[in-house]
Subunit: 500 residues, 2 copies
């Protein structure tokens, strides 16, 4: 708990402990379901998650809890850490008090149950099996948006749940700004770029050895495995049961790019959580302030660090010791291979240049579905048509198309744009980080990730939820999120790789 | 839910769902802590478990819940399944309403936290590290007993928590009855029995292969791995998150006897849970009615089935295919080896004959500690002295002595006698089972475990918590628990093995 806090604040935090414990239970239920629950547990699991979600909602919206928040609010010093905790709780209360417990429980249950169907339906190319769940989950999201209220667009209250202050108009403007430069860069690479060969990375690699390599790399970069785990699941994700119990997963892939990038991505989320100040534990303050800021960390470690020359000068020898087939490869060729740009069907396997076009497609589709412009039953065709338009490729099936992601299956609508926002913020922060710390490529080559990590700890992780996302980005980089650094650094990096 | 139930009963069961969900959360928190939680999670885990235990206590002792129980009680038909559920809840209310939530939460937290210390202290022979936890946990048990109240002995309300209706006097009388015949049988074996060789079972066996063998055996006997798991933990246990999500563990041992017997033991618990009628899910009725009846199932499958001639005629070829070093062994030699009687320091490695002397020692010691006759700080000496008296051996250290078991570390005082009661009930049921089903050894040899399993399903597992333990044993065997069958069958079996 925060030191020297007021009695009213201490009473509030004491009561908040119940919410914190329920949150940890729900997180463990969901982690367990995705990582190792036997199939027979599914029925009860969905019910239990729904009950806990309803209990959490009851606790936080109860008159007595709201009264505690207001009593504490009168007591705390403006600008203090306590005041930040009150701000976080008030924001949550504004949302939760507008939603009935039944809706919260239903979303938790359907989102939990849909996962098992998705796990079977995805490899079986069975969109029809997913359709009833998607119908329910989009209905739940529509109802949520109506209850939360909005002025301009039904998307506004939904994206705000993931990214405080964001709106449909923001996301639209952002994509409008970056689409042109990205499409141009992609076109230049495809038409005039030199050949980049990544064929050596495809092979029937030993999966446990590959995962062990990813785990070693994450450990050397700075993830503390005494306060976390890396397991295998059908989707890569990161969750925390406490700030010193951070659980990451990686997919059961046998592809070097896939394993390394998904492990470093989740490690980026994990570092943000693991490095929350200990004194915030049990309060509403620890952890990431928003999904975009969270994604800025996962994408920073995955892409800017994990696809850098320095990183591969450091780790290629380890990879080559693991897989002697790669012994002829030099670090520059590895650097190019890991950054090869080629439009693909699968978002999580996408290169940095085309990645945001995958997000744009999802953003447009979820808006169209919410407003009724596209019917869910027509999703496969709508999806494939956008892939043809934006990326020039048509998915051969829904496995490689509209049921590849887990997000909608878990009821998360309004989430996708935060990936692109995260990309922008990651480069914006990187610009500051690299000018302040300096010499990062050589440091990485020497296995020294502490300069970058310590800068991020001080600037971002230590701040936890003390500031709004907009405030935090402005404090760290001197200005709110905007696309300049992203576009310019990306352009320089890929024009270099492709000899443009 | 049970069909055609009364409205008041349905309201009660609906509300009971919260308790059921919290129980599942606590079980998963504890399973996770013992199987795979990273060390950093320990602090928060203890707090979260304590909060959930307190929330559960609040829910079940609330006036509104008690009122629902009494309303439903007026509505249900005597002798119905609903009436049994009311009986189970009333028994729980009688206990829980006498205990303050703070005590319940403290026991949950100390019991959870002590586990991590125990895991380090046991291999390090560090009794001193355990002492403060044991002091707290015995104090908590003393306070629990005082609050629950008793007439004759402080042990009475504690053993009753695990075994409805049991008392110190019952347990004392039971041990007094069986001690003589057991000691005599042990003496005869040691003095006049032929040599039984089990040296071939000791070796540096490949642990994953050994566990895979145990898992195959459990699966062939009847454990449904689509509704359960077998993992490795420092202590072997079985828990359930739902009746189709039953989690067993086995120790990281490399000893064939240890792995096979602990896996079959936990499988016995698991079969009892897994086979609870689906219609009871979400009510207070599913699962084992008491620890003694639960132990009767684990001990029946571990010892009576798992150490039978038929079982090893069936499974020795599989074991030999796994470990070719055993190829010279015949089933009769394996049968004798797996049943070799020799006093050991470790309870969980004990043979059937000396096993109950290990329990007697623990029963006497926990009573002496509760009453102050033995101080906890003197436990190592008291422990070793009893091992010398009853088993003729003196543990070389506390690793092999008083800190070998997890029970007291988890705050479970009054639990141990249920193992011996379970042994008695297992043989009493076996007597009926074998006369009604018949030809069991040949069936096992043919890989047919369904006759035994179906009998137990109908007689025991289907009954779940419908009857008190005494009623259930009487219904199944025609009489309450008593030691005749145990003593006579054990004597016949071991006099045969040892040529007496």
């Amino acid at each position: 708990m925060i030191q020297e806090s007021s009695p009213a604040y201490r009473r509030l935090i004491d009561r908040y402990g119940d919410v914190d414990a329920i949150d940890a239970s729900i997180s463990l239920f969901n982690w367990d379901r995705q990582v190792l629950m036997p199939p027979g547990g599914a029925d009860a699991r969905g019910k239990h998650v729904a009950i806990l979600a309803r209990m959490r909602h009851e606790k936080i919206t109860s008159d007595s809890f709201q009264k505690l928040v207001e009593e504490a609010a009168r007591d705390v010093t403006p600008g203090s850490e306590e005041a930040a905790a009150i701000r976080v709780l008030r924001r949550e209360l504004r949302t939760q008090t507008k939603l009935p417990g039944e809706l919260v429980a239903r979303k938790a249950q359907v989102g939990s149950d849909a996962y098992d169907t998705w796990r079977r339906a995805k490899p079986a190319n069975d969109f029809k099996a997913m359709l009833p769940y998607l119908e329910q989950l989009f209905d739940i999201n529509r109802e949520t948006a109506e209850r939360l209220g909005y002025q301009d667009h039904i998307y506004d209250p939904l994206i705000d749940l993931f990214e405080e202050g964001a709106s449909y108009a923001d996301a639209k403007k952002l994509f409008d700004t970056i689409k042109g430069p990205i499409v141009q860069l992609l076109k230049d690479i495809q038409e005039r770029g030199r050949e980049v060969d990544d064929s050596m990375l495809y092979g029937d690699w030993d999966k446990p050895k590959l995962r062990a390599f990813a785990e070693r790399a994450a450990g050397q970069v700075g993830f503390d495995f005494s306060c976390g785990r890396l397991d295998v699941a059908n989707n890569a994700f990161c969750t925390h049961l406490a700030h010193h119990d951070v659980r990451m997963t990686t997919r059961p892939s046998d592809h070097i790019k896939g394993i390394v990038s998904s492990s470093l991505h989740e490690m980026g989320h994990g570092l943000y959580e693991q490095n929350s100040p200990k004194r915030f534990e049990g309060t509403p303050l620890p952890g990431g302030i928003s999904l975009a800021v969270h994604e800025s960390q996962s994408r920073l470690w995955e892409n800017i660090v994990g696809r850098s020359r320095g990183f591969w000068k450091r780790f290629l020898p380890d990879l080559q010791a693991t897989f002697t087939e790669l012994s002829g490869l030099d670090a520059e060729a590895m650097y190019r291979a890991i950054n090869k740009v080629v439009p693909t069907f699968i978002r999580v396997g996408a290169d940095e240049v085309s990645y945001n076009l995958h997000i744009l497609i999802r953003f447009e589709l979820e808006c169209e579905i919410l407003t009724g412009q596209t019917a869910l039953k027509d999703l496969p065709e709508a999806w494939n048509s956008k892939y043809a338009d934006y990326l020039g490729i048509t998915p051969p099936d829904d496995t490689n198309g509209c049921i590849q992601d887990v997000h909608w299956t878990r009821g998360m609508v309004g989430y996708f744009p935060t990936y692109t926002m995260g990309n922008l913020i990651s480069y914006q922060m990187w610009q500051c980080l690299s000018s302040e710390v300096g010499d990062l490529d050589s440091r990485f080559e020497a296995g020294d990730f502490s300069g970058a990590l310590n800068w991020l700890k001080a600037q971002v992780y230590d701040q936890a939820k003390l500031f709004t996302p907009r405030e935090l980005v402005t404090r760290v980089t001197g200005r709110p999120m905007e696309p300049t650094d992203f576009i310019s650094i990306l352009s320089v990096k890929y024009r270099d790789i492709y000899g443009l």
